[in-house]
Structure formats: C-alpha cells, structure tokens
C-alpha cells in the first residue's frame, strides 16, 4: 500500500493481522477474539529506524514479536529481505535469528540470573554454532563489551551485581553479537532512570549509525522516538493511524489521535503557553473495537461518517500518510 521508490526495503509488512482467541469453558471453546493488530502495512528500508508509537493495547509489542516470528501472524505477509518469514524452514529460521534480534524493555527480566554476563552475550553466538570457550568467542565478547562501553571484567559478573543501565548494555551487546541486520528495540529505555536513558539512547544511536543497522523502535515516549527515528508510525487499537517522516509527524501531525498524543506529553522546557488537547474517555476494548474508525469514540472531530467505514491510509504529503477521512483539519 505504501510504496516508497527510494531504497530497498528490508522489512515489508502487508495487511498484518493478529487476533488472539479467548477460550472459555470445559471444551476451551473460543468465546471471543482480541483484535490485537488489524490490517497493518508498512516497510522499513535498509538502514532506517522506524518508530512504532502507541499506548497500551495499540498492538505495538505484538507487531514487534510477529516481525521476529516469536508469535505467528493470523494473516497478512511479512517479508524479510524479500522472503516470506512464515515460510522459513528450521535451518532458514535459525539463520534468520542471526539476522534479526530484539532488545527488551525490562533489563531486570531479560537476563537469566544463573548466567554470567559473558555467557549471556555468548548465547546467540553459541546457538549459531560457535564453540563455548573458544578463543574467537572470547575475543568477540571482549569486542562487544567494549562496543557497549563496559569494562572487560564484566564477563564474569552476574546480572544481580549490575545496575539497570549496565544490564541494558549487556542486552544490547547480546543482540549485536551475531551482527544482525535488523533489531526490534521494544521500549529499550522506558524502565531506566532519566540520566541513564540518555546514555542508552546515545549508545543505540551510535551503534545504529556505525553499522547502518535497520531498527524498529517501539516506544510510548514520543520525544525519545522522535530523537531516534527516521519515520514514525502511530498505532491505536491495533490499527495504523498515521505514518510519516519523524519530524513531520511530531511537528505537524495529520491525525487527530497523534495530535492528542503529542499534546499529552509534559515537557519541562515548554512550560507555558501550550494548549492541551485532553482526550475524553478510555481506550476501548480490543475485544469489541468501535465500528468504523476505531478512534471516533474519543475524537473531538468525529462525524457521523466516521462510524461507517474503516478509513484507508492516504498520502497527505509526500511520504506522510494518515487514516482519517477529514481532510479539512490539521
């Protein structure tokens, strides 16, 4: 749907949908479905950072997991370097794991407490066939620790001894160990202290630039996302609301939801003279999402027509798309 002439796309997502079954009763009958992700399409070019923004229930984490085939899509297509990832056999999937990696949100949960830092960093390499204790493995661990600015003696430490920021550096070193082409960073700094966040953002930014890494940067923090991303996609209740160049989306949002989301961010540097758009109501249930545009229940610009059809993503400026029928706004 969203074709981009410039540059080859590394990840190409079309009509991606995920519905989780809710089972009930003795026979585990499917009682309802959670519409986690509905008909989402986008591409990520080689070397590009795409930000995926949204609140809880937006489906951003589910999309990240599906791109790595950690959970299977219900329908739609995900192509990685032109190949359909759903069709990967065992051997191709293992190779894919060496090309696409993930950094999780909580560095306290994503490291096995029984493993040393060295073992944690070595794990992906060992799965890819490198021998435990071999000189090249040791060499690689040392390089990776240096790349994430940790002392060499961290190899023998255990996660318990590390601060949140240090752990996240280990998680990043581990993800980079196999020299991946693509990384899904799922809220990589949101559980860290403010002064540590900046260190990790800076590290990710340096590493991404140095090796031309392609990245899906998932976050609810639009300021961090704008800083990290080339383009931003905004999700609401599993649907894509808006996608475009990062600065355009933040400075001149085209979708009413994006407008409200940006306006809700408290900013210490812009204390006065901001008028707030405060959304009414709560995020609707993904089990029975509203008909038509899923945002119409909270949208201050909603018309009767908004309850009718699901709005298509349309290009409003070159490379900037929105799923909203109202062209007279914003």
């Amino acid at each position: 749907m969203i074709a981009d002439a410039s540059g080859a796309s590394l990840v190409d997502v079309k009509g991606l949908t995920k519905r989780f079954d809710i089972r009930k009763g003795a026979f585990a009958r499917v009682a309802a479905q959670v519409h986690a992700v509905e008909n989402v399409s986008f591409q990520i070019k080689e070397g590009e950072v795409l930000g995926l923004a949204g609140e809880s229930g937006s489906g951003k984490t589910t999309i990240g997991r599906m791109l790595l085939r950690l959970i299977e899509a219900s329908s739609g297509s995900i192509r990685f370097m032109g190949e359909e990832i759903a069709g990967f056999d065992r051997a191709r999937l293992l190779a894919f794991r060496g090309q696409a990696q993930i950094v999780f949100q909580d560095p306290f949960a994503s490291l096995d407490p029984t493993m040393t830092v060295g073992e944690a960093i070595a794990e992906p390499l060992r799965i890819q066939g490198m021998k435990a204790g071999s000189p090249e493995l040791r060499q690689r661990i040392a390089e990776l620790l240096e790349a994430v600015a940790l002392q060499p003696d961290f190899t023998l430490r255990r996660p318990e001894e590390l601060s949140g920021g240090q752990r996240q550096r280990v998680v990043i070193a581990r993800a980079l160990s196999v020299n991946p082409k693509f990384i899904v960073a799922d809220e990589p700094v949101s559980s860290l202290d403010v002064s540590i966040q900046a260190q990790i953002i800076g590290l990710l930014e340096r590493l991404q630039r140095r090796s031309g890494l392609t990245m899906l940067f998932i976050s609810h923090d639009l300021a961090v996302m704008e800083y990290m991303s080339d383009r931003i996609a905004v999700l609401y209740l599993g649907r894509l609301m808006e996608i475009g160049p990062a600065h355009d989306v933040i400075a001149a949002p085209k979708h009413p939801y994006t407008e409200a989301l940006i306006s809700a961010i408290p900013d210490a540097a812009q204390r006065t003279g901001r008028k707030r758009v405060i959304l009414t109501g709560e995020i609707p249930s993904a089990i029975a999402p509203p008909a038509g545009c899923v945002f119409h229940t909270r949208c201050r610009y909603a018309l009767a027509a908004c309850t009718q059809g699901v709005p298509e993503l349309r290009e409003t400026r070159p490379g900037h798309y929105k799923a909203c029928i109202r062209d007279d706004l914003l």
Partner: protein
C-alpha cells in the same frame, strides 16, 4: 499559580530530616529541609535512590515502624490550628493526622484497593471514618467524589470491584478516597507513572482542578521533569538523599543552576526538537551512587563536568540561597552559572 494569595500560610515544615534504614544502615535521607504552604503544589523530583519516595512516606508516618529511624523534624499545621510534630508521633495520633490532614496516593492503585469489596463500599468506609455523616449521606458523598473525579458513570463505578476497572479509573477512585477526608495536603507518589500518556493527561488535569478548587496543597513525587513543570509552583530536586536544588518551577526549569538539574534537562530529548531538527541530548556520565558508599564531598562530583579536584571531592556543599528565590547545593554555582 497562587500568586494572588498575598499572605502565605505555612502548612508543612520539614527541617533537617534524616532517615536511616535499619536493615542495611543505609542513609536514605540526609538533612532534608523544605516547606509547603497552604494550597501550594510542590514537585519532588529525582531518580531511583534519590529519597523522593522516602520523604513522602516519612511525612505520612509510614516509615517509622521498625524499618527506618528518623531524625529531624516534620511540623504540620493541622486543621484545628494545632502544630503537630510528626517525627516520633504516637501511631494512634499519626492515624488521626493521616485520616484528617494528610492523604497519600501511590503509583499502583490496585495494591491499595481491597479486591473483595466494591469501590463504593471502600469509598463509603473512608468517608465514614473521617466525616460524621448520617448513613444515607455517606453514599451521596461517595457518588459526589466519584463525579468530581470525572468518572463517566459514577453509579456503575460505585458497584464495581477494583479488578473491573482500568488503571486510570482505579487511580481516580484512589484520589476520590484520598479526598474523602478533605486533606490539607495530598502526597502523590508517581500517581500516573503506570498509566498511558493520554490517561495521565486527563488525571493530571483533573487533579489540578481539584487542587485549585479545594485549596489543597500537593507534594507531587515524580521522576518526570515534564510533569513536575506542568503541575508545580515550586520544585525540589533530590539526588542521593539530599535536596540539591529548590525553587520556583519556571526558574528551575528555564535556568537550572545545579549541574545535576541542568544535566537532567539536557539528557531528555525535547519534543519537536529531534535529530531531524538538529536536537541533541547529553547524558550525565556514570550512574546513581550506591547509598552505602557515597562519594566524599559533593555526592554528585564524580559525574559532574564542573567538579574541581580538591574542592568538590572534599567539601560537602550546603543548600545555599541563590538568585530568583532558589536554593542550590553546589560549591561552584556562582562561577558556572552563565
């Protein structure tokens, strides 16, 4: 926000407050002093281990039993006009202070709500405990509180159980319960950290309206500088158990004097000033110090770009008055302020 109040009435005065955890002898608070005037919103900002939550708990008298020893003083002007010393106050008298003069809301409202009672029962219980009202009026009052918290269907919420509500709704219920005693001071410990930004905006907006209407003072404990700037009249910045900068919010955020505050401001990317717009972030090097092994001199000096060997690593700076009604804990603030 309260510039029109000519005479500022002192409500809470914390003086030389120190707290030591008994289990590991860690000094979580060291010589913390500040005051809150009636109707004033004060933000207490800091990272993990800064002592911001400990300060809130100390004011509520929720620290003392066994886990930490307190010294210094916390004086509160009660509704009756009596000036009570909260440090060392007997538990039964502290309970009466908690029920009538100060209330607290937490980050995770689920843990403060009892899952087996309906929301209405719990609010009614809180009201009955604090106000002498006939039974029939208690329910009206509960519904009124739910209504002023902008809960869409108060009657339905009244009969709901905590697990049936969303995180945002639970936090509104918690605030309604906290308000049931008509406190003069509300201690809010990261009340919106677990919520989505659009829901956070709703609750902060609502809290602001209630605060102004009731003339209630709020101590807002948060790690989010943006939120602090949005809400507060005055800001207290804490680092490693000490207040390192204090002052009017617009002053502190527009021209931070303490290098730590300035560093925090620089380490957050600004919205609308991302990479494409030439935005920069500058992290503060290093990590938050281990409270059991604090650096000598100024606790921030190992991470500070302005630190001078022989001074900053030797002398512990005092919190001294600076321009614009501020106070700064830095030996070199005069030299480094542009």
């Amino acid at each position: 926000m309260n510039a029109d109040i000519a005479v500022q009435e002192k409500l809470l005065e914390v003086d030389g407050l120190s707290a030591t955890f008994r289990s590991n002898s860690v000094r979580a608070l060291r010589d913390v002093s500040f005051r809150i005037d009636a109707g004033e919103v004060v933000a207490l900002v800091g990272e993990s281990g800064s002592g911001k939550s400990t300060t809130g708990l100390a004011i509520m008298g929720l620290l003392e039993r066994g886990e930490a020893s307190l010294s210094g003083s916390i004086r509160l002007v009660r509704k009756s006009g009596e000036r009570a010393e909260l440090v060392g106050l007997a538990e039964n008298r502290m309970r009466s202070v908690r029920g009538n003069d100060v209330a607290m809301i937490f980050q995770e409202p689920m843990s403060s709500l009892d899952p087996i009672y309906s929301v209405g029962d719990q609010i009614a219980e809180a009201i009955a405990a604090h106000q002498d009202l006939p039974r029939a009026r208690v329910e009206d009052e509960a519904l009124r509180l739910l209504t002023i918290m902008a809960i869409p269907d108060p009657a339905k919420c009244f009969v709901s159980y905590p697990h049936q509500l969303s995180g945002g709704m639970r936090q509104r219920v918690m605030i309604a319960m906290a308000l049931s005693c008509r406190p003069r001071l509300l201690v809010a410990d990261e009340p919106t950290t677990a919520l989505d930004v659009t829901i956070q905006a709703q609750i902060i907006d609502q809290l602001g309206i209630l605060q102004r209407d009731a003339g209630m003072a709020v101590l807002f404990v948060t790690h989010d500088l943006g939120l602090a700037a949005d809400l507060a009249d005055r800001v207290l910045v804490m680092y490693a158990g000490q207040i390192v900068e204090a002052g009017p919010a617009d002053q502190v955020f527009s021209r931070p004097t303490m290098p730590y505050t300035a560093g925090l401001m620089r380490s957050r990317p600004r919205i609308g000033a991302g990479r494409a717009a030439g935005g920069q972030i500058q992290p503060i090097p290093g990590g938050v110090p281990d409270l059991a092994r604090l650096p000598t001199g100024c606790t921030f000096h190992p991470r500070c770009a302005h630190a001078v060997t022989g001074r900053c690593d030797v002398t512990l700076p005092a919190l001294e008055p600076a321009d614009g009604g501020r106070a700064v804990r830095c030996l070199r603030w005069r030299e480094i302020t542009p």
